[in-house]
C-alpha cells in the first residue's frame, strides 16, 4: 500500500468551461503537472508536482487556470506549522538536507517597512525633478581627501580606481550556470544601456559577454571557477565573494546536470561534473590572507580595478567590515539574510545571518567611528525590493545597492523557490535549452531597463521631495529617516529617530 504523507500546498484550478484543450499548459510545464486525459477528453492537473510558478496561468489563452492555496490542512497548531510537519516527513523518508532557493521567506521583521522617508514643508522647498536637475551619478571606490596640485595650481586628478554609475543600483552576482545564458545576456545588455554594472557571479564570463566588459564586475569565489588573467582584466571591477546572505558560512554546489558544454567551458571544469565551491576560500583562513588575495588581484590587474569584497551579514559584521576596509579593499558589499540564491540548505537560508538594514547601519557607523568611511564604498543587498528601499539603504549609509531577486522578477521569475531543480519554466534558472529559449534576451534587457528607469524616476521624485538634488547628499543622511513601531534598541542600531520625534 502506498501512503503519501505529503500533500501539495497548492491546487491548480481549471475552469472547464473555458478550457479549450489546447494543451499549451501541458507543453509549457517542465514539472509535468498538466496532462490530457483521453478518456475524459479533458485537461487535468497533478498538483503534487506543481511549484506554483504561474507559467501555465500566464500562457493560458482563455484564462482558464489559477493556482490557489489548498484548504487541505493539518489540525490547527500554533507550534507545529504545515512546513515543520512535512519537512520532518521528507527528512524521515530521505535522510537528506532540505534544499530550497531564493531568499528567506519567513516572517522576520523587514526593517525597510518600518522606516519612513522625510519630505520638505515650508522651511525649505521641495525640488521638482521635471524642472530642475536631479543628479544620481555615483562613484564607488576610495575617496582621497589629501589633494595635490601641480606647478600651475591644477589639481593632480589621479585617484584610486573608481566605478562610475549613472544610478547607484547594480545587478548582483548570479553565475552563468545557476542562471541561463539568456538571463546573463539580459543583465549584461541592461547594465550597458543603463550605465551601471552587472556581476558575473562565480561562474566565469562566457566569451560572448566580453563585449560588455565596461559594465561587468567579475567575481572570484572559493571555487575559482573560470578565473584566468583575461577574465580578471575583462571586468571593470573584481569582486571577491567571501559569503552570501542566503547561505552564510557555506559554499555552493552546482549539480552536474547544469554543467553543460558551454557552462563547462566558461567555468573551466569538466562537463557534467558537479561544481563545488568550498565553504571558505582555501587560501583565506584569516583577515591577513584576504589582504594577500586583494593585493594579488591588484597586482594582476596593475592596480587599475577596484576590488570589492562581498560578505554575508552576520553577527559581528561591524568589526569584520572594518578589518576588510583595512586590508586594501576598495568596496565592501554586504548581503543581508533575505538575499536570494540558486540553491541553499533550507535551514541555513532561513536561520543564519542578520537583516541587511541592521548590518548596513552598524557597518556604516563603525567605519565612521574609526574614521575610515572614506577608505571604502559600501554596497548593500538582500533584499532591495523597490525604489523606496534604495532610498532607505542610501540614507542609512550605502553608496549603492545590488539587486538580484528584483532583477530576476523583471525577467519573469515568480519566486517559486525551485531554482535548485533546474527546470525553471521562465527560462531563468535552467540550462535546458527548450526552457531557456523562452527568455528572449532582448525583451529581458528591455524589462530590466524599464524597471531601473522607473525606479530612477521614483528616486528623483523622493529626493526632490526631501529638497535634495544630488544623490551624494542622501548618502548616510539618516535624519531623512524615521522609524515606526521600533524599539529603542532597534532605533539605536539603525541610528535613526522614531516617527514624531
Amino acid at each position: 500500500m502506498i501512503v503519501n504523507l505529503i500533500q501539495s500546498e497548492y491546487e491548480v484550478i481549471r475552469d472547464q468551461n473555458r478550457c479549450i484543450n489546447c494543451k499549451l499548459c501541458e507543453q509549457q510545464c517542465s514539472n509535468g503537472v498538466n496532462y490530457y486525459d483521453k478518456k475524459l477528453k479533458a485537461m487535468l492537473s497533478d498538483e503534487s508536482k506543481c511549484v506554483n510558478c504561474h507559467r501555465c496561468v500566464a500562457i493560458c489563452p482563455t484564462n482558464a487556470l489559477k493556482i490557489v492555496k489548498s484548504q487541505h490542512c493539518f489540525k490547527t497548531n500554533s507550534n507545529w506549522s504545515h512546513h515543520d510537519i512535512t519537512n520532518i516527513f521528507r527528512q524521515a523518508q530521505t535522510g537528506g538536507v532540505l534544499l530550497s532557493s531564493m531568499g528567506n521567506p519567513k516572517e522576520y521583521p523587514v526593517y525597510w517597512d518600518k522606516i519612513l522617508i522625510n519630505a520638505s514643508q515650508v522651511t525649505n522647498p521641495s525640488i521638482d525633478p521635471l524642472r530642475e536637475p536631479m543628479e544620481t551619478r555615483t562613484f564607488l571606490g576610495k575617496k582621497k581627501l589629501d589633494i595635490e596640485f601641480d606647478e600651475n595650481n591644477n589639481i593632480i586628478t589621479k585617484t584610486k580606481p573608481q566605478m562610475e554609475l549613472k544610478i547607484p543600483i547594480m545587478f548582483g552576482g548570479m553565475s552563468y550556470g545557476s542562471i541561463s545564458y539568456n538571463a546573463h545576456k539580459s543583465l549584461a545588455c541592461a547594465a550597458e544601456k543603463l550605465g551601471i554594472f552587472y556581476n558575473t557571479g562565480e561562474g566565469g564570463l562566457h566569451e560572448d559577454f566580453y563585449v560588455y566588459s565596461e559594465n561587468t564586475i567579475v567575481q572570484v569565489a572559493s571555487g575559482r571557477f573560470g578565473v584566468h588573467p583575461n577574465y580578471l582584466k575583462a571586468g571593470k571591477a573584481i569582486e571577491i565573494k567571501m559569503g552570501q546572505g542566503a547561505k552564510p558560512g557555506i559554499g555552493g554546489h552546482l549539480p552536474g546536470r547544469k554543467i553543460t558544454k558551454e557552462v563547462s567551458k566558461t567555468r573551466m571544469i569538466p562537463e557534467g561534473n558537479a561544481a563545488i565551491s568550498p565553504a571558505p576560500h582555501h587560501d583565506i583562513y584569516s583577515i591577513e590572507d584576504l589582504r594577500q588575495l586583494v593585493y594579488m588581484l591588484k597586482e594582476t590587474t596593475n592596480y587599475e580595478k577596484p576590488i570589492i569584497v562581498k560578505i554575508a551579514a552576520v553577527h559581528n559584521i561591524g568589526a569584520i567590515a572594518s578589518g576588510i576596509a583595512r586590508c586594501g579593499a576598495d568596496i565592501i558589499a554586504i548581503d543581508g539574510f533575505r538575499g536570494g540564491t540558486g540553491a541553499a540548505p533550507l535551514r541555513i537560508r532561513d536561520n543564519v545571518g542578520i537583516p541587511i538594514e541592521l548590518a548596513l547601519a552598524s557597518v556604516d557607523k563603525r567605519l565612521r567611528e574609526e574614521g575610515i568611511r572614506n577608505e571604502v564604498s559600501l554596497v548593500a543587498s538582500g533584499t532591495i525590493r523597490s525604489s523606496a528601499d534604495v532610498i532607505k539603504a542610501l540614507a542609512l549609509g550605502a553608496d549603492a545597492v545590488y539587486i538580484s531577486t528584483s532583477a530576476l522578477i523583471a525577467l519573469g521569475c515568480h519566486l517559486c523557490r525551485s531554482c535548485h531543480l533546474g527546470k525553471c519554466n521562465w527560462g531563468i534558472a535552467t540550462q535546458i535549452k527548450s526552457l531557456s529559449d523562452r527568455l528572449d534576451p532582448k525583451e529581458g534587457c528591455e524589462n530590466l531597463v524599464n524597471l531601473i528607469n522607473a525606479w530612477k524616476r521614483e528616486i528623483k521624485e523622493m529626493m526632490g521631495g526631501m529638497g535634495i538634488n544630488s544623490i551624494e547628499a542622501l548618502k548616510g543622511n539618516r535624519l531623512m529617516l524615521r522609524g515606526i513601531g521600533l524599539s529603542e534598541k532597534e532605533l539605536e542600531i539603525l541610528g535613526i529617530q522614531h516617527a514624531g520625534e
Binding site: 522651511t123 525649505n124 589633494i147 589639481i155 586628478t157 585617484t159 573608481q162 565612521r368 572614506n374 547628499a473
Partner: protein, 365 residues
Amino acid sequence: MDRIKKEGEIRIPSGCAISGIFSKQGNRFSGQTAIDSIRVMHNRSNGLGGGFAGYGIYPEYKDYYAFHIFYMDSIAKKECMDFLEAHFDMINLSKIPTRKIPSITDEPMIWRYFLSPLPTKLAESQLEEDEYVARCTISVNSKIKGAFIVSSGKNMGVFKAQGYPEDVGDFYKLDEYRGYSWTAHGRYPTNTPGWWGGAHPFSLLNYSVVHNGEISSYDANRRYIEMFGYKCTLQTDTEVITYMIDFLNRKKKIDLKRVAHILAAPFWSTIDRMNDQQKQEYKYLRNNYESFLVTGPFSIIVSYENGLMALNDRLKLRSLVVGEKDDMVYMASEEEAIRVVAPKLDSIYFPKGGEPYIVELEKEV
C-alpha cells in the same frame, strides 16, 4: 511640564537675514554700520537670535587667540577656566562690556580671553598651533556642560545673543568697536533655541559663517565631518558648514573658490560641457569630496582673516546680493540692507547659484 529642549539637543530650522561689509584697503570702521545694515531686514528675523562678527577689532592683541565664551553658571566657568589655564598662557581676561537693553534678557556670563598656547603643551601635542587651538575649542564645546566658546580666532570676535540683531549690536556696544570686516545675522528659528549658543555667526579659529537657509544634506555632512574630530554640538547648518570649510580650506589647503565648488558643486550637465582639464578637476572634486556637497537652500557669508566669501546654493534658493563702492564691498540678503549704508554704489551684482563671490584685503593690516 517637560523642559523645552535646548538647541543642540534638537535640530531647529531657521530662516534668516545676513549682511557683510568689508574694506579691501583694510580701513577700520565702526560696528554701527553693520547694525544699521541688518536693522532694515528686521522682518527676516523673529527676535530669537542675532549676532555679529568683527575682524580687525583687537589690533593691540592681534597675535593672540581671542576667546569669547558664554558660561551658564559659575561651575562651568571654573571648569572651563581650569581647562584654559592648563592649555594656554592667559595674556588678558575680562567680562565683555554690555549695556542693558530691555529686550535682551537671560544673558549668560560673557567673558573674553586673549590666549597663547602653552609651549610645552603644544609641543607635547605634536600639532600645529591652529589645530591645537581648534581641538581645545571643540573639546570645551562638546565636553564642558554650560560653557561655550563663541569664537576663537585672532584679532576677531563674535558677538551674539537671543534677540533682534540691532538690539544685540546695541547690547554689545558694537558702535565702540572698529574693524575692517563685519558680518551680521538676524535669525528666524522655528523653535525657541533656549539659549544663546545657537545664534549666529558660528565661528572656529578665524573662520566665521553667517547663513540663511535650511540644508537638506545636513546629516550626510555632519556624519562625515564628525569623522575628522569635529563635534556638531549645536545641530545647526552653520556649524557644519563652518567645520567643512575649516577642514577643506585650513587642513587640506584647498583654496576657497574650489571649496565653494565642493560645497555648491556645478551640475554634471555643466561639468560635461567643460574642457578636459576642468572636467577632470570637477569630477575629481565631486567624487572625492562627495559628502561635502551641500543641498537645499542656503546663502552664506564666510569671513576669514583676509576676506569675505558670499555663496549661494546650486539653485539659488535664497536671495543674496553684492554691491561695491570704492574699496568697500557689501553683501546682503536684500539690496536695501546695502543701500541703507551705501546709497550710491559703483556696481551691484547677484551671484549665480554656486558662484562664489570672494573679496580679499589688498594690503596687509
